[in-house]
Symmetry: D2
Subunit: 143 residues, 4 copies
Amino acid sequence: MMAELEPLLDITDVQRFLDAEFPQVAEDYQILEIAPKRLKLRLVPSAKHLRPGGTVSGPTLFSIADCAVYLAIIAHVGEEALAVTTGASIDFMRKPAADADLICDVELLKLGRGLVVGDAAITSAGQPGLVARATLTYSRPRK
Amino acid sequence: MMAELEPLLDITDVQRFLDAEFPQVAEDYQILEIAPKRLKLRLVPSAKHLRPGGTVSGPTLFSIADCAVYLAIIAHVGEEALAVTTGASIDFMRKPAADADLICDVELLKLGRGLVVGDAAITSAGQPGLVARATLTYSRPRK
Amino acid sequence: MMAELEPLLDITDVQRFLDAEFPQVAEDYQILEIAPKRLKLRLVPSAKHLRPGGTVSGPTLFSIADCAVYLAIIAHVGEEALAVTTGASIDFMRKPAADADLICDVELLKLGRGLVVGDAAITSAGQPGLVARATLTYSRPRK
Amino acid sequence: MMAELEPLLDITDVQRFLDAEFPQVAEDYQILEIAPKRLKLRLVPSAKHLRPGGTVSGPTLFSIADCAVYLAIIAHVGEEALAVTTGASIDFMRKPAADADLICDVELLKLGRGLVVGDAAITSAGQPGLVARATLTYSRPRK
């Protein structure tokens, strides 16, 4: 457990992992920061992420949270890690702007041998308050 | 309230609404059934929905649940309805097959003037058990 | 897995387990039915469960859901089972009557070696519609 | 909205409200702190809160989170406020000690005219890491 408190991988490592393993979404995301138990991810919304009314879709907010927590786990446990999303809850609180970056701040609340719980707070750049907050749980299968 | 127990719109109406309002995702989804408080939606997974290991991504499962509950509300309240997703929780239980249709069965558990709660049960065609189950809440703003 | 589809214990067994292990709450609950993957539990609200306005408290609704899913696991896996609640989500939809029985219908959506997911639908006797719906997840530790 | 950023009531006011309105549970709880958007609540576990294995029950953790968010709303909006719990999600992460105080730190993430979202982080005194984390949503009915 102690070894997992500090990240094993840096931004370059994790961005490379993302590009290799998830080529379909990698171009959407940029890792801004990795710190003990934490990771910060950015998404610049494009046409496919938008919805009528000049906002970003709910599934886009879910996706950035899921991706950011997963990358935080990889950063702390290593690329060969297996982690399967088992559950998520999300509250949508404010409408993000269509033309502003989304920033997702993840904190790993628990990084156990079996269960991982990550908190994801999403803001729309230049706007006060959270646009959404999610909690995601992952299971790490035994070898 | 009584008027809302029966759907106002049929499959053709709701599919047309989907095509017009959500052109970016409309081609992914086909409405299979509309009944009192219920709607059934199908997604045929394509490359963009897949993940390594021959499965469908978690965000795709979230998306079909969100879309299906939203369309169920439209079917029962009408096209001019305003309904904003305020929260969601989802449990991922079994790995869907990459090459099988996803079927999402929605039941509106509550269709109030302010709050709507929809249940979404997702199966992967030809596979026993649910692949995921979600509950979504929507707020209907006052005029 | 096959062996777990049918309940191992009957109502008398599970009620006795409840009385022995949870004496503090056992008198509140009565098991009404056990069937494959299912269990039905009743609570007769007393003063400690009530809130101003003639209704039952939210924590009481959470408690019956948690208890009912746990007992459903015990009924299917046996008394020696270890199962730890890891997460829950609940939607409160209608106000239960203070003087009506609460009935909680559980379905085990997944009964895996590691993860269990149970659905709990709560009604207030004599009132149409669900008063609450919860999903609870449990982890079964490896021996 | 601006008027709601600062608490309207202090610890004495809110403790008095708790004693008057919820006499059944008031003796369990002590308000430790009220600050802008925040409230801190303590519970000293007694026999009724415990479970086999020397720990505090899941419903007790749910209850302190629900109570603390509700009191935070009252502190910021006033005693005459109406706020109904509409949903909650909670992750249980570590086993609280039976003989240590539970501390619940609430932050109101959104305090809207219709919807309130509160975050509740629960610790067991003297133990590192959260024992549970919950998000609760409340609806404020229009007059």
